[in-house]
Symmetry: C2
Subunit: 473 residues, 2 copies
Amino acid sequence: MAMVEIIDTTFRDAHQSLIATRLRTEDMLPIAEKMDKIGFYSMEVWGGATFDVCIRYLKEDPWERLRLLREHIRKTKLQMLLRGQNVVGYRHYPDDVVEKFVELAHKNGIDIFRIFDALNDVRNMEVAIRKAKDVGAEVQGVIAYTTGKIFTLEYYMKKVEELLQLDVDVITIKDMAGLLTPKKAYELVREIKETYGVPVNVHTHSTTGMAVATYLKAVEAGADYIDTAISPLAFGTAQPGIQTIWHALPKAVGSHLDRELIHEVSRYLKKLLEEKYWGLLHKEALMVNPYVLKYQVPGGMYSNLIAQLKEMNALDKLDEVLNEIPRVREDLGWPPLVTPTSQIVGTQAVLNVLFGRYERITNEVKNYIKGFYGRPPAEINPELKKLVLGDEEPITVRPGELLEPRLGKCRKELEELGYLQKEEDVLTYCLFPQVALEFFRVRAEGIRKPEIPKTAQKFRVYVDGVEFEVGVE
Amino acid sequence: MAMVEIIDTTFRDAHQSLIATRLRTEDMLPIAEKMDKIGFYSMEVWGGATFDVCIRYLKEDPWERLRLLREHIRKTKLQMLLRGQNVVGYRHYPDDVVEKFVELAHKNGIDIFRIFDALNDVRNMEVAIRKAKDVGAEVQGVIAYTTGKIFTLEYYMKKVEELLQLDVDVITIKDMAGLLTPKKAYELVREIKETYGVPVNVHTHSTTGMAVATYLKAVEAGADYIDTAISPLAFGTAQPGIQTIWHALPKAVGSHLDRELIHEVSRYLKKLLEEKYWGLLHKEALMVNPYVLKYQVPGGMYSNLIAQLKEMNALDKLDEVLNEIPRVREDLGWPPLVTPTSQIVGTQAVLNVLFGRYERITNEVKNYIKGFYGRPPAEINPELKKLVLGDEEPITVRPGELLEPRLGKCRKELEELGYLQKEEDVLTYCLFPQVALEFFRVRAEGIRKPEIPKTAQKFRVYVDGVEFEVGVE
Ligand SMILES: [Co+2]
Ligand SMILES: [Co+2]
C-alpha cells in the first residue's frame, strides 16, 4: 500500500456537516497553529456553505476569517470548495464575478481550489478552473459521484478526460452522500490511475458507515489523497477521523503526521463541542442512516422530503415519493443529487405524487429543461421536454455566457451606500446582495457579534434505573 | 470473496451497547417473526448483561423472554453470550451452577453458546463448553482480542489450539473495544483458516470507526461469520448495521437476506427508539471515540476512569493514569481489558498514581495475584507477587474447582421463601441472590412492570440562527 496524503476538513466540511457550519473563527484560531504543524498536505478551511453562514448567521466577515487563518497557518496549504459558476452561492454568477472571486480568494490565502458542478457539466467549472490556474493556484477538478444506471465507469472516465483537458492538477472523486462503496472506489481509482496516472483524491462522508472501508480500498487502488477530519468533530455526516484512519491504514498514512498534536487538537475540540456547540450536534447527524443506502439519496434530501411531506400532511406518501425520485431523475437526464439539483428533483417528485405526474411543474424544472443549469448527464425525456418547451429549443451555450457582467454595478451601488471598505466587499455583495447589506449594516454600526448563548446544559436523570438525558438552559 | 453468514446482535449486544441493555421483550416480540424470516444464520438474543438487567431494572423474567423469543423465532438459530465460569454474572460460580445453566438455557431455546473468559484462560470456559457440547448445542469458542506486547499471532494461535482441543465448532474473535484493525483481522483470520480450516467468526464494535473496514478485510481473509445489527440500532458502540455491510460487501453477503424485511424492521426500530428509548441513546455512544485508539482501552473503561477521577477531584491526573495502565497490565501479566479485569486494572492504576505505585493494593488485585481469576496471559511481576503473597504460592488449579456446589442449597432456600415457581428460578437466585429476591417479591405481589415514562420530548429552538436541542419532560 503506497503512501497517502491527508487533507483535513475540520474547519470546513466537518463542521458544515455536523454542526450546521457554525464553528466561529474565534474558536478556530486557538488551535490553528497546532494544526499547521500536524503535517497535513492541506486544510480545507473555506468555501462551501461557510461563506453564506458567516455573513448570514455569524455576522463574521468570511474574508477576514481567511486572512486570519492564513496568518496562523503558514506552512500547510489552504484550500476551498468552489461550486464552479455558483461560486459559494446557489445560482450561476457572471464570469467577471467568478474570476474576481478566484483572484481575491487566492490573494487572501487559498492555495488550492476544489471545483465542482452539480451536473458534472465541465463548462460550468471552466471559467473558475482557468482563472485558478492563471493565478498559479493548484486545482482539484471534481467528479461528483452518484448512482443510477447511466453512471458507469465510462461515464466517469469521460468526465476525468474533460477535466484533464482543462489542466487540473488532481482529480477529486466527491461522494457527497456516502454512496461510494469500497468496491466502486477501488475500480474507479484504479481505472483513473492506470489510464492517466494523475493524482487522485477521494472525498466521502461517513453518513452510511462505509467511509473508512471505502478509503481503505481507494488507497489500495492507489489514491494519493483522502479527506479526513479530527475526531470528535468527525464521522457521522462528516469525514472519518484521522485518528481512526491512522489505525486502519497505518502503512499508508505513515509516520509524518504528529500524533501528539492531533491529540491536543482533539481534546480542544471535544471541550469546545461540549461547552459551546453541543446543542447543534444532533444524534441524527451521528447515527448511520440506512435509508440513504436504500433510496440512494443524500441524507439531507431524505430529511428534507420528510419535512416537506409533514408540512403538507402527506407523510404517508413518503414511499411513493422515494420511488418517484429515480423516475424524475431519469426524465431529467439523471442529474446527480446535490445542491441545487437535489431540491429540484425532490420537489418535483413530491408534486408528481400529490397531483399526478407533471401535472404541476416547478419553475426550477422549467429552467432546468431550458438548459439554464447546464447540460444534464443524459438526454431529457423528449415528451417532458416537449411539454415544457413546446417548440422552443433549450439553450446550448454555457449558461454563464448569458449573464451580464455585474462587478462594476455592484461596486458602484456599494460605494453609494457607503459600505465599501475593501474590494472583497464587492464580491460579498455580488454573491448575496440582501444578506450582505444586512451584514454590512451590522458591521458599520459596530454592533457586537451576537454571542452564542451557552449551550443547553446536560443532566442525567435516573427514573427506576432508566437513564434520561435532559437539557436545560 | 467467499460468502459470509450474518449473526444478528440487535436483541443483545446492540441494545446493550447503545441503550444500556434496556430493550424490553414487549418491544422485541412485534418484529421477532419478521427477523426470523430475514435469513440470518443466527440471532444473539440472550446472555451478556441482558440477564442481570432484566431482573434488576426491567423486572422481567429473562427465562420468560427466552421462551417467548423462541416461540416467535422458529427458523433462525438463537445464541447467547456466556461468560464462561462467570455465566452471566461477574464472578466465578460453582460447576453445578454453570452446568445447570447451560442445560436450561439450551432447553429453553439456545442453539449456540458463545463462551469466553476475561483472561483467555480456557480452563474457565471448559465446564461450560463441555456441557454445551453434551446437550448437543453448537459452541463458539472465544478468543478475547486485546493489544499489548505479548499478544502476538502466536499467542492467539495457541489459544485457538486450546479451544479446538475442547471441540468447539467455531472460533470467535471477540474484539470488545474496537481495537482490531483491518490488517490484524486479515492476518489473524487467514492464519486460523490456513492452519486449522475451522469456521471463524469475527465480532467487533464500531466504537473506533474501523468495524466495517475490519469486517471487509476479515471476509477477504476467509471469515465465515460476522456480527452485525440492524440500523438504526447499530454502529456507535455497537456492531455495524447490516444495511451498510450489504453495500460494503455485496458479494460476500449475497442475496439470501431479505432486504425488504430488514427495511421494515429498521423502520420499526427507528420509531421505537425515537418514541421510547431516545433519552437512553447518548451522543457519546454514537460518536467515534478517538481516545480508545490512543490509549488502547475500551470506551467504557475510559469514561469510568474519568468519572472515578472526577469524584476524587483528581481529573488532572488522567494522563498519568492512562500511562500507568500498560504498566499495571504488564505487572499483572497482561490481562485483556474486559469485565472484570478492566475495573481491576483501572482502579489499581488510579491508586498507583495517587498514592505511589502499589502503596495501596485492592483486594481484587490480591485475589487476582492469588490466582482466583485464573491464569493471566503472561507471568506476574515477581516483585509484586512477593509483595502480595509473601511466601505463599498462588493456586494453580482451575478456580472453579475450589467452589462448593450451590444448586441444592439455593433450591432449598427458595422453596422456604415460597418463591420457587420453576427450576429456572433456582439459577436466577444462585446467580444474583439479592437482586433475584427483590425480583421474585415483585413477581409474587403481581406488581405491574414499571412503565418506562415517555422519553424526554425534543424541541428544536433557534436563537439567532443557532439551533439548540432542548429536552422537556
Ligand atoms: Co463533503
Ligand atoms: Co460485543
